[in-house]
């Protein structure tokens, strides 16, 4: 017991020294600061709710907001980013070649990507599974009924593999047609080129809610093929950048837990209700230095984009045309699976 105590004492002493040691700054963050812009992944078209282009040719969506949040955290200006349009198939080559600094684009965390593609993933910020949507007139309720049918998917995605794997497991004879762009895929499904459309659950729901004339004419089949953790992907070998991205995500979740919103963030920073909020918003120094950022990064970020709930509601939830329930993507305290690491 005593021995343990001394050990932890040593550890505590060592830890207390840490702030004094200058944090090695991430080369990626350094590059971003020199460049003055953050290069984020966009899409070749619109991936509704996550990466969209509006009538004024501006990007919006959940993933775009996360990019803006990260931009604010690093550079202090939510608009100091460039959204590079990429197809699904191009996103990893583009990341590897440095055309983008990271991928925040509904990207699942897989072992292959983690190891063979040389990527690193952040905390999952979203959970969604692969499902099928089919034309209602076919009278289908589950994937077994798709026998002999044509199924469309997006090429180069995990969905492509999961759907192929699932259909061969349950022994459904089918034809698969895969497209390189979401727009092409959507057009093909709407035109009835395929009987069913394998997609990512939230995306299917968004499509059904808005993109197709009559939502009742389409059914989302009962099969739940997977539940994928969606994370930001970065190049391997820059742990400090992963830290920055992880704490950017964590800060948005903590802000939601603590009830900090873009509206009240200044007030909360001025009169922090508890030490956690004080630390998060930089009312108490130290938070920035540990990540190689400014102390006020989280405060500026929340002022610019809001907490996770605000971002969700704006892009997918009640304030968006899609009106998706938060479901799994709620805080753990509200029945979801999202949680932040401990801010100490």
């Amino acid at each position: 017991m005593i021995k343990k105590m001394t050990l932890s004492g040593v550890a505590a002493a060592a830890l207390s020294l840490l702030p004094a040691i200058a944090m090695a700054e991430s080369p990626t963050v350094q590059q971003i600061k020199e460049r003055g812009t953050l290069l984020c992944s966009g899409h070749n078209g619109s991936y509704f709710g996550f990466v969209e282009v509006n009538d004024k040719n501006e990007w919006k969506g959940l993933d775009i907001d996360l990019c803006r949040a990260l931009t604010t955290a690093i550079l202090g200006d939510p608009d100091a980013n460039q959204i590079v349009p990429l197809s699904w198939a191009q996103r990893f080559p583009a990341l590897q070649s440095g055309d983008v600094d990271l991928i925040i684009k509904a990207t699942g965390w897989t072992m292959g990507r983690d190891t063979e593609l040389g990527l690193q993933f952040s905390l999952p910020y979203f959970f969604g599974g692969t499902q099928f949507m089919a034309h209602g007139e076919l009278g289908i309720t589950e994937a077994k009924d798709l026998d002999g049918g044509t199924i469309c998917v997006e090429a180069g995605t995990t969905i492509e593999r999961i759907a192929a794997n699932y259909l061969s497991t349950i022994g459904v004879e089918h034809t698969m047609v895969s497209y390189e762009s979401a727009a092409e895929l959507r057009a093909a499904y709407v035109a009835n080129r395929c009987d069913a459309f394998a997609g990512w659950g939230p995306n299917l729901a968004v499509l059904r809610a808005t993109e197709i004339d009559n939502p009742d004419a389409h059914v989302i089949l009962s099969d739940q093929l997977s539940s994928e953790p969606i994370s930001a992907a970065m190049r391997q070998g820059d742990e400090e950048f992963v830290d920055v991205v992880n704490w950017m995500l964590a800060a948005m979740l903590i802000a939601e837990e603590e009830g900090i919103t873009s509206a009240n963030v200044e007030e909360m920073a001025a009169n922090p209700p508890n030490p956690r909020v004080a630390r998060l918003l930089g009312s108490e120094p130290g938070m920035g230095e540990r990540l190689g950022l400014r102390d006020t990064w989280a405060r500026e970020m929340i002022a610019a984009v809001g907490n996770f709930a605000e971002v969700y509601d704006r892009n997918l939830g009640a304030e968006s045309p899609y009106n998706l329930d938060r479901g799994l993507n709620n805080l753990w305290s509200h029945g979801g699976v999202l949680y932040a690491p401990i801010l100490d």
């Binding site: 292959g112 040389g118 002999g148 090429a155």
Partner: protein, 378 residues
């Protein structure tokens, strides 16, 4: 040493210097690329090498001439893509050449209406990018009625947004491929025999059809009827031959565009035939068809074949746009494989190698054809 000798020596030295410089530069660039690639791949944690070819892919794609599963290794999937490219390429080459000659001849017609129609066709289809025509056509095709409301001719031929369903002979895919190859060989044989153009085409067409019918009767699968007719069962048509809409779109788009180009080549060739020859034919009382096949075409072919060969290579290369509509040609398969496996360099090398092989072969064939035609005209 005279001044001229001195100058010559100087020039010679300079030439050696330039060439050594060029070789040196090439070596430095290639070596530099290899070294950088290695360090870049290492720092990204990517593994290099062709080991991935034996791994199964785990993903599916739209079209294959041979049976496929998601357990196929990358090597086989790539080979299927290569076959698809060749398949579409050769069909496109055949059709564009056929229609190109017809339209090119029409451009040269004496009847003003036919000439106008051919000119309008060429001016429209030649002046719009192929990829735009393809996605345009594909949008139109997939917005056709679905399989349940398919348009049909006498309930044997169906056209829906899933594809074109034709009645077909009941043969196994292996026999079909064999028949295709034999038919091709027959065509080459006829060219080698220097047979007359029109008669050659007829012999080839009738011979190929006869051969297919005989083969279908001889090696028909047990219990199958001679002709299999497509029939709607469940979500799709079964039986007969199905040409998926992506394949149909590729063939039609490349044919429309390529025919316009080949028509121009043919017209150019026909325009170079001296008018006196045609008039001589008319004086002899030859029919228009005979003048065309005996006098004009053989003369024109000499100037047609070299640019025609270039067009054939272009058709083969044009198959790469299949990726725009989800047709699984070699480029599409390579592009997906890169995302799914991360083996960028190896896959690009395979892709480039395949095209060098095919286009090299086509160039050799064109040269051979050219030589045969030249000999004949002498």
């Amino acid at each position: 040493m005279s001044k001229a000798d001195e100058l010559r020596l100087k020039a010679k030295r300079r030439k050696i210097l330039i060439q050594t410089g060029l070789i040196g530069l090439s070596i430095v660039v290639i070596f530099g690329a290899v070294v950088t690639a290695r360090t870049n791949l290492q720092s990204l944690g990517l593994t290099s090498g062709f080991g991935f070819l034996a791994r199964s892919t785990g993903w599916d794609y739209s079209f294959s001439l041979v049976p496929k599963t998601i357990m196929d290794p990358y090597s086989q999937t790539l080979f299927v893509g290569f076959l698809n490219t060749l398949f579409v390429g050769f069909i496109a080459i055949f059709l564009t050449t056929l229609f190109g000659f017809i339209i090119g001849t029409a451009r040269d017609a004496s009847n003003i209406a036919i000439k106008t129609a051919a000119t309008v066709y060429v001016q429209i289809f030649r002046n719009i990018p192929l990829i735009l025509q393809l996605v345009f056509l594909y949008s139109v095709l997939i917005n056709m009625p679905g399989p349940r409301q398919a348009m049909s001719i006498a309930d044997t031929v169906f056209l829906s947004n899933r594809g074109l369903m034709l009645p077909g002979l009941s043969v196994t895919p292996g026999v079909a491929v064999a028949l295709l190859l034999v038919s091709l060989a027959f065509g080459v044989f006829l060219i080698w025999r220097k047979s007359d153009l029109l008669r050659g085409l007829l012999t080839w067409g009738i011979g190929s059809i006869l051969m297919c019918v005989i083969a279908a009767i001889a090696v028909r699968p047990e219990g199958a009827s001679l002709v299999s007719v497509p029939e709607l069962k469940g979500l799709r048509f079964r039986g007969g031959i199905t040409i998926p809409i992506e394949l149909l779109g590729m063939i039609v788009a490349i044919t429309l565009y390529g025919s316009a180009y080949i028509a121009e080549v043919v017209r150019g060739g026909l325009a170079q035939v001296p008018k006196g020859l045609t008039e001589a034919g008319q004086a002899l009382g030859l029919t228009k068809g005979a003048i065309w096949s005996r006098i004009k075409m053989p003369m024109a072919l000499r100037s047609i074949i070299p640019p025609l060969g270039n067009q054939w290579i272009f058709m083969m290369k044009a198959t790469t746009i299949g990726v725009a509509i989800g047709f699984s040609d070699l480029f599409y398969i390579v592009s997906i494989s890169i995302t799914q496996s991360g083996q960028t360099l190896e896959l690009i090398a395979i892709l480039a190698g395949a095209f060098l092989l095919v286009n090299g072969g086509l160039a050799i064939f064109t040269n051979w054809l050219n030589a045969r035609m030249k000999l004949k005209a002498h």
